[in-house]
């Protein structure tokens, strides 16, 4: 569990898992200004903090749980992850896209909330569970989930990722 956990030979590929799950990846976001969606260094793919945008628009705005329900925030975490998968698939397109991902290393989740909020892990599970659906055991990762008073565009969730490339 804590040692490297690459996808076993013969196991379902991430792209096949997405197809089985009926998930179509969103279009990868265009690079913006002076930073980029992903950076590959050695076999580590760093993915920029993803926000829950769909077709260019935030799917929710505000604080959890006062303005955005836990349930919606979980969906937001899932959307951040879909956007990350799309970015990784695009970044790795010359290597087979997401099928070149060997494992998920780290997830860093930020939830917009106030003092006293305690359910950050519940929100972050929206990301973690999708990663395990897509990558199986090798989708299990180290994770930090914390609060923030606000996030870019006033979205309720932002998540960054490190993937291992095979």
């Amino acid at each position: 569990m804590s040692t490297q956990n690459p996808r076993p030979a013969g196991s379902e590929s991430p792209l096949a898992a997405l197809a089985r799950l009926g998930i179509t990846l969103p279009n990868p976001a265009k690079p913006v200004a002076a930073y980029v969606p992903t950076r590959l260094v050695g076999n580590l793919l760093y993915i920029s903090g993803q926000i829950p945008v769909m077709n260019g628009q935030p799917i929710a705005k505000g604080l959890v749980p006062r303005e955005v329900s836990i349930e919606t925030a979980v969906s937001c975490a899932r959307q951040c992850t879909l956007n990350a998968l799309a970015a990784a698939n695009e970044a790795l397109k010359d290597r087979g896209g997401l099928n070149a991902v060997r494992s998920v290393v780290r997830v860093g989740a930020f939830v917009a909330c106030e003092a006293g909020f305690a359910d950050h892990p519940k929100i972050a599970n929206g990301a973690s569970e999708l990663l395990v659906e897509v990558f199986g055991e090798s989708g299990k990762h180290a994770r930090a989930a914390v609060g923030a008073p606000s996030l870019p565009l006033n979205v309720p969730v932002e998540i960054e990722f490190v993937f291992e490339v095979g």
Copy 2:
């Protein structure tokens, strides 16, 4: 200081240092759901954000310094670090446990607090100083310490780590 700083040959091992310091590691936390306590990729061990739980219960809850004193928050940072050491020791058990740690690379500390709080470094020192007690010079690390409006289970401190494995 800024170059790699592995433990010199013949220096005290981390497990010997723990024994000398009279520190017994807590039981490693059970893996939860879709994420895991640690992930090893190459020679980097990513350790999930640790919270100050002891025997499964938070040792403090609330904001620093209004609800949790600086002194207690420092103890919380130390407890987070003990939990990280336990997780790393378990993850590396087939390689000699913590003795397989070559250096500490990064510490990311989050402190639950309000606007105007300025003493995040003082809290994070509870982690940093323990790491140097256990690993000596090779325990010195890059660090970020920042505020958060709240953290999982309403604890006052969460800390994540990257260790180098030898």
Copy 3:
């Protein structure tokens, strides 16, 4: 863009770019206590969270935008980055200083702000744009920008970095 993007042979060196831009690096900060300004592991240089100090004093304090304007916060992000460049230049002094940097991998930016703030990316651009001025295309990085209720010394911006060393 998402693949490794090292400086092309024959391109302007980072130190030459700094000279052309008329930028003199600040003196590197002294190491404090149990953590260090940078840690090199393999070819990754982790740089501790930098705050906007100049000659040892914060150049601004408080929340964005209520107490610190967006414009000032952008300058703070730039100052954090100058301090990071100084730390990296010092860390790599036996290898040619900043000229040993092959690319910028990750930028993690924290902005002290309140609920409803949405312009974290604008602030973080103060760091990202300087990195591209100095390193060219290889300065483009993965990035996360988030809010925090407060930061060390009550500064408005803290930024940590991962550089790739060539």
